[in-house]
Subunit: 331 residues, 2 copies
């Protein structure tokens, strides 16, 4: 799945920044890939990108029109079809990270053929993967894992990649979800791959590389998450990580959306992830802990990070507040 | 995925019984569902079912024509299209457990529409599943797990189900692979479900039931198999098993097809499977061990089973040689 920047980022009629996961991610991590944002008539929020009309975005050179909003059902309201068609008429590909496929809509498919542009439904892999083979690959790999979903794995992965690059180390961010794919311009939505091919897809995503090169791989789900652990273990086996970084959101006590399921401790998370990671890379170790401390004040955040660090002997930081320098030092 | 017996079992031009996994499974476990087998002109083997022409099978009341052969690529040679079309003309549905889809072939799809019959590509789930929710369900569940793929999980599961029924216990065999689906007449090919929905599919397959009822669930893959562990952990989480039965093939030292990967010990297999099973069912315990001892003589088989039993404190049997009575006793 390869995308073509620069992007025109469409916000639809969003009235809440939490409904703009795709748009906010690309605006934060790769503003240089965006010509600006385009608001629907009822949109009341902004990502901070320059606000443009569709025609202005085209003039600024936008090659791809990105659906930047999300919603619970992953549904695309037909109210957006008109502007999608106009964007195609202006020569833009369309990127969609929602569950619903644009390519299932005959009128949009026909228009895409007419204008020689692509409808890129990035949650739906088009590659035919092979099953994993567990064969050792050259190069180094880091994978983020977590106590739960939505604890900051993508943010942490991107921060770790950025820090490696800042230190002049050869490194590539490897995206496994729709927001990450938009940021990287390529990747695989691993939760949408057929179950037989989860680890095979990750092996393909992170192929042989120079011995000193780091693939910094976006984790998904959690081994303790009753819905999504299959994705997680396949990611771990396929990644053959040399290092894992454990992510956790402070204050969360139960699995998101499943109040019957308590979160594992950091120590338990480390133990079980290492158990499985060492199946395909016996030398895997833990590089550190990334803590989302947004629920507490600055002083408490420092104290909690220090306490986790004392307990585990590992660097523990909030990537937003403290950066990830100590984890890269430890790597 | 619901099938309609009785079946006419087509062997193609098979010259080796190992190339007839689907046919041999249904002939062994549910001969009463089969009107007979149909051989291609170059077929040299038999499942033991009565050999019939297609017309004789139709007269005997066959409702479904089953492709009984398999091959490495999961490919369907167009040489079989003619007899498939004839079977449809005689009013039969077509069941295909190979990777290639019959429904991708326009001439077959058109013929199916013309004759009002179904092309059932049972490796390709058509149900739209929801993600798992881990909510506790009523009724009891047993799941087979293994040290590897192809160690006899389906055979063991069916033997356990048969023994429960023989004792008058309410029980249902729940199929998770193509051969099992053929035997049960329904089920889900869990390795072909989209990764996000693995455990959700198993929750749907094994819904609330009477408190005394056992769902006896066919396991897949292994937590130690670098290609397929995602399927396995999703199955475990979705099944919420009250009991697991560990399957192993004696003499196998490495993961099938992956010579770099040693098999785990039985003890390790028990520990890691229980760890994950107890995430969704804290009361899960091990009911016993099923050993495929076909590589050794009768006396050695008994000694090895006794040794495993002494080591683990669990009943250990070869389901083929000894039956699974002691495991059901222990349950």
């Amino acid at each position: 799945m390869q995308l073509t920047p620069p992007y025109a980022v469409y916000l639809g009629n969003a009235t809440d920044i939490l409904g703009l996961k795709m748009a906010a991610s690309i605006a934060y991590w790769r503003p240089e890939l965006c010509v600006g944002e385009i608001k629907g008539p009822d949109c009341t929020v902004s990502t901070g990108l320059q606000s443009l009309s569709l025609e202005e975005a085209a003039k600024a050179g936008a090659k791809t029109f990105v659906l930047g909003f999300n919603n619970a059902g992953g549904h695309i309201d037909p109210e957006h079809f008109a502007i999608i068609q106009e964007a195609m008429a202006l020569g833009m590909n369309i990127v969609n990270g929602l569950h619903d496929k644009l390519s299932d809509q005959a009128e949009l498919s026909n228009a895409a053929a007419q204008y020689h542009v692509a409808l890129q439904d990035i949650r739906h892999p088009t590659t035919r993967y092979r099953t994993g083979n567990g064969a050792k690959r050259t190069g180094k790999r880091l994978l983020t894992v977590g106590t739960d979903c939505s604890v900051g794995k993508m943010y942490s992965t991107l921060a770790l990649h950025k820090e490696l690059e800042a230190r002049g180390k050869p490194a590539t961010f490897r995206a496994t979800g729709q927001c990450g794919i938009l940021i990287a311009g390529e990747g695989v939505a691993v939760d949408c791959v057929v179950a037989d091919f989860i680890s095979g897809a990750i092996e393909a995503l992170t192929p042989d590389n120079d011995p000193a090169h780091w693939d910094v791989i976006e984790g998904q789900g959690s081994l303790f998450q009753p819905a999504f652990a299959g994705v997680t273990i396949g990611l771990i086996h396929g990644a053959q990580p040399d290092a894992i970084v454990v992510c956790h959101a402070l204050g969360r006590t139960h699995v998101r959306g499943l109040s019957d399921y308590a979160l594992p401790s950091i120590t338990e998370t480390i133990d079980v992830n290492l158990l499985h990671a060492r199946r395909t890379n016996p030398n895997c170790r833990v590089a550190g802990i990334c803590l989302n401390t947004s629920a507490v004040d600055e002083q408490t955040a420092l104290e909690v990070c220090q306490a986790y660090s004392d307990e585990t002997g590992l660097p523990c930081v909030d990537p937003v507040r403290h950066g990830v320098g100590p984890i890269i030092d430890h790597l």
